[in-house]
Each structure stands twice: as structure tokens, then as C-alpha cells.
């Protein structure tokens, strides 16, 4: 007797895979869904439930549904993938960066510095605080103090 295709296992695996991959490929661009994977966790959960449903009927009605062996393998793989995703987001990402206890704190004076801009012109912090930028990045064209300067330290352009 030809047994039925156990679609729930396959669809569930695809949903888990999509739930994991859509984080780096898409949701990382949306701050609210990047800071906490609100979109990805429900997707991954749904996928695992589907696999569970498929597995349950494969074992309860082995004469009707296929999938006991490949379902177990695929289910274990997807469970491992989901665990890896959660580990990466909730543990891995939070134990990477140094604490930086010596960084300037609110109320302290920012240590002055001079660094070259992208056209190798020297830029001094105190100087730019007292002289706003023109929109094209020229330094020292404005007059009077700025409202403040935002300094963004970033990891480099990979």
C-alpha cells in the first residue's frame, strides 16, 4: 500500500529554515525586529510544531503516513538549528563586546582628539564643537558653537 506524503514535516522544516535565515537576510534591517527576534521566534516555533504534528502521525499511523526515519533526522536537525539560532542571539551576541569601563561617561569631559577625515584633513573635536559642519563635510565653514556633536565609533567597513 502506498503511504501518504507527510507534508507537515517538510513544510515545518522549510518554515524553521526560513525563520532562521530571514534574520540575517532581512529582519536585521528592522531595528525593532533585530533587537529582539519577534518575527523569527514565532516562525521557528510554528515550523517545529508542524514537524511535531507530522512526526506524531508518522508514528501513530505508520501504515498511512511516511516519515518516521527522515522525519526524525530532519526534526533533530531543525531542533539543533533552532537551538543554535537562540544561542547565537541570546548568548553569543551578548558576550562578545568588552565592557569599556574607561570610556568617557555622562558628565565627564570628552578627551580631545585630532583625526584625519576621509580627505585626510585634520579634524579636532574642540574645533568642531565651536564651528558647525557644512553639509558637504567641509570643516570650519559655519560660525558659532554647535548644539553638540554625535560621535559614532564603528567597527570599520567590511
Amino acid at each position: 500500500m502506498k503511504r501518504n506524503w507527510n507534508w507537515a514535516i517538510w513544510v515545518g522544516a522549510l518554515v524553521v529554515l526560513g525563520g532562521v535565515l530571514s534574520y540575517p537576510l532581512f529582519f536585521i534591517r528592522i531595528p525593532a525586529l533585530r533587537d529582539f527576534p519577534w518575527a523569527n521566534l514565532p516562525l521557528i516555533g510554528l515550523g517545529l510544531v508542524l514537524i511535531g504534528v507530522g512526526m506524531a502521525r508518522a508514528f501513530r499511523q505508520p501504515s498511512v503516513f511516511r516519515g518516521r526515519i527522515f522525519g526524525s533526522v530532519l526534526g533533530a536537525l531543525m531542533l539543533a538549528l533552532a537551538a543554535l539560532f537562540c544561542y547565537g542571539i541570546f548568548v553569543g551576541a551578548r558576550h562578545v563586546l568588552p565592557a569599556s569601563p574607561g570610556a568617557p561617561q555622562v558628565g565627564q569631559t570628552a578627551p580631545d582628539f585630532t583625526l584625519p577625515d576621509s580627505k585626510s584633513r585634520p579634524v579636532n573635536l574642540t574645533a568642531i564643537l565651536n564651528s558647525p559642519f557644512a553639509p558637504n563635510g567641509e570643516v570650519g565653514l559655519g560660525t558659532g558653537p554647535t548644539a553638540g556633536v554625535v560621535l559614532i565609533f564603528y567597527r570599520g567597513y567590511w
Binding site: V106, S118, F153, Y154, Y157
Partner: protein, 92 residues
């Protein structure tokens, strides 16, 4: 860290109008205690992500040092810190 030339390429490709400074030797990054040891994929030291708002007197008014790799500051946070500076000016 990126050289001025690399930063200029980035600035032009993204259309950024703000200046991008280069700290190729990590002098300032080290002085500000922002080094992320071996942070780059090839094992080199780089800067950790960090954001500061400095007021015209040189005082730090807002700091964001994320402890989570994927969570970064939102523009609204910096703008709110600017508002706080302006408010304190009006009150004086």
C-alpha cells in the same frame, strides 16, 4: 580600522554628508577605552560600537555602549539627548 581613502569610498557610495574620521592606529579608540580586542574576523583589534553626544562645552551628555552585538543605538535616542541639552539651555 579604515583608512581615509576607504572612508571616502564609503561616504560617496552611501551619500553620507557627515565627516568620517579615521583612527587607523586606534590611538583615540584606545584612549577612550573602546578597543574590541581581536574583534575583526581576521583577528585584528578594532573599535567596539559606541556612540557619544558631546555638548559645546566638551561635556559628554549621552553615551551608548551596547553590550549586545545586534542592538545598536537608534537615531531617536541621540535626538532626545539633543533635546535635553536644548532644554537645559532654555532653563538657564
Amino acid at each position: 580600522m579604515d583608512s581615509p581613502t576607504e572612508s571616502e569610498t564609503l561616504r560617496q557610495s552611501q551619500g553620507y554628508t557627515f565627516p568620517i574620521l579615521s583612527d587607523a592606529n586606534l590611538d583615540v579608540i584606545r584612549r577612550w577605552d573602546l578597543v574590541h580586542p581581536h574583534g575583526r574576523r581576521d583577528g585584528a583589534d578594532i573599535s567596539r560600537p559606541a556612540e557619544f553626544l558631546v555638548d559645546p562645552s566638551g561635556k559628554v551628555r549621552w553615551v551608548n555602549l551596547t553590550d549586545d552585538f545586534v542592538v545598536r543605538a537608534r537615531p531617536q535616542e541621540a535626538l532626545a539627548a539633543f533635546d535635553a541639552i536644548n532644554k537645559s539651555h532654555t532653563e538657564q
